[in-house]
Amino acid sequence: MSDVLVDVDGLKVHFPIKRGIVHDRTVGYVYAVDGVDLAIRRGETYGLVGESGCGKSTLGRAVLRLSEPTAGRVVFDGTDLAQLSGEPLRRMRRRMQMVFQDPLSSLDPRQSVQSLLVEGLRAHELDRGAEATAARLRELLDVVGLPANALRRYPHEFSGGQRQRIGIARALTVEPDLIVADEPVSALDVSVQAQVLNLLEDLQAQFGLTYLVIAHDLAVVRHIADRVGVMYLGGIVEEADADALYTEPRHPYTRALLSAIPVPDPEVEDRREQILLTGDLPSPAAPPSGCRFHTRCPWRQPSRCDTERPPLREIRPGHRVACHYAEDIAAGRITAPTGLSASRG
């Protein structure tokens, strides 16, 4: 058994833009995921962060093969998912589950909690008699912290946090190895977010789960992830252990993201470096040439940045960065022109 549970290799998901009345002509592509390599180790939590529209949700779905990849491979525990279809793929789904952002819309409003939970058992022939199923359902409610009388009620009768617990219980019904959690707490009240994150951590310890947690909230990812990948416009720009990433970000985009987190101390807040990004996220239908980030990068260099796409390269063991000048920026050999990067105070 290898150490790596999920191996994503050169994954691309391009959505065609179609136009036409009689015949749909493809006039272009949205490069939602454009060449991603990553490996998720057994039992770890891999956090994926990025702005809205950077392709992180699409990547999560492609890992579960809910979106068809255009190119590249997703190898799950030694099996290339792209080779599977129909019944073998359906069987494989038992081992990888998803937790959704919006707990209400991801639960069928017409099904009681009981039938929502039984569905997974039934789909994979895990329901062995009424007695065993009832016991299993009680156990599931117990581990996610829902009252036993929840079974006969309907999703709209629960609070947001409870609904997310139902969603998590549903994912657990089939005893998966991997859970992809797509923004699992962003639709919840802040007071409930921590509860759900702690629940996810408890479950990981209890069942030996592997997580891919997708979020735009850096604090959420820091709380839960062992390793973090930062996505920008369909590609991973930096990947490192969570601590290393937060203390020593090497990619300009990561530095900008981290510097945007406010610090709850007015003096530190005034003194610390703030990197203000100019402009908007470019359209994924027409990504910039060269480094995807060069249009907004304060450290942009005239030579290679707009022509050559930097590969994700290891600058230290376990720390990968997709920037031509990562070392130079870190060593202070390249400085950002004032005005783009301003130190307030």
Binding site: Q97, S106, E119, Y154
Partner: protein, 311 residues
């Protein structure tokens, strides 16, 4: 695992918190809202009276609707039609038949037309809409182009054309003509909401769970798509009555008028509408009232099923 004391606390909370054991499904909560809606109550009362009337018509009608009992009071030359009189509260028609009995028995035919046309239209629309919405791809294209062609023809014209296809018009050809017009409307409606369901999170969740495709379509997509279709069916009950009346009025109704039907009675009344408007008034009034009843129920059902109105 929860510790036993914590579990105990949760159980106590659940037991003492007054939370009901059995939840309220969407259908039940829709029904609770519906019961409080005055529009629904009025519509349901109209439909109730109409259905009871149709069911009890053979016992309520005092006369055979085909018998020309008042023939001696009919004079074509002097344009005389029997007026209301003891034993015949609404008088007679041009052929001396008891109008009251014909109105009562006519409700049976009208109900039959409405229900059968709606059921056939709904059935056809369900099949086509489910095929298009669940399978997609070229099946969707073929079905929807077919539907577009049918929708491009004005509905009454289409019904008239279908009705005229048959050599001999009977009640059944009327039903078929009215039903076929409704099929594309149902199909388009269902396909639209099926597509919305297919892209929804809970269908994606079922897919991720590894639920079989057939189960996804019939357990998740179809039940969640039926709301607008149910509303449309109640409205179509009204439309079918009006369309059938229009067909009868245009002479494409059942050729045999010994079995009375309101639309057909209205059609026959047009010759004498100047001198004897009561012959048109009663069937027209009945059609309008019943159509209103179904429309009221349909509208209030639409409101009740709207998820935005929940709670």
């Amino acid at each position: 695992m929860l510790t036993s004391s914590r579990r105990q606390r949760i159980d106590d909370l659940a037991a003492g918190g007054g939370a009901p054991d059995a939840g309220v499904s969407l259908a039940v909560s829709a029904w609770r809202r519906l019961r409080r809606s005055p529009l629904f109550l009025v519509g349901a009362a109209i439909i109730g009276v109409f259905v009871v009337m149709a069911l009890l018509a053979p016992w309520l009608a005092q006369h055979d609707p085909a018998l020309r009992l008042l023939d001696d009071q009919v004079s074509r030359a002097r344009n005389e039609i029997p007026p209301a009189q003891p034993g015949h509260p609404l008088g007679g028609d041009q052929q001396g038949r008891d109008l009251y009995s014909r109105m009562l028995l006519g409700s049976q035919q009208t109900l039959l037309v409405a229900v059968l046309a709606t059921v056939i239209g709904l059935g056809g629309g369900l099949v086509l809409g489910t095929l298009a919405g669940a399978i997609g791809g070229w099946v969707d294209s073929v079905v929807m182009r077919l539907v577009d062609v049918m929708l491009s023809i004005p509905s009454l014209l289409l019904a008239v054309s279908v009705g005229a296809l048959f050599a001999r018009q009977t009640q059944f050809t009327v039903i078929l003509a009215v039903a076929i017009v409704q099929i594309p409307i149902f199909a388009r409606l269902l396909r639209g909401s099926m597509l919305a369901q297919r892209a929804s999170d809970h269908v994606l969740a079922a897919r991720a769970l590894g639920v079989r495709r057939r189960a996804i379509v019939f357990r998740h997509m179809l039940p969640n798509s039926l709301g607008p279709v149910v509303v449309q069916s109640t409205l179509v009950l009204a439309i079918a009555i009006i369309d059938a009346a229009a067909l009868s009025f245009l002479g494409l109704g059942a050729a045999d008028d010994s079995v009375p039907e309101w639309g057909q009675m209205l059609g026959r009344a047009q010759d004498v509408i100047d001198s004897h408007p009561q012959l048109a008034f009663w069937p027209a009034g009945a059609i309008i009232t019943v159509a209103l009843g179904f429309t009221l129920v349909g509208e209030s059902l639409r409101d009740a099923l709207d998820p935005k109105n929940r709670r």
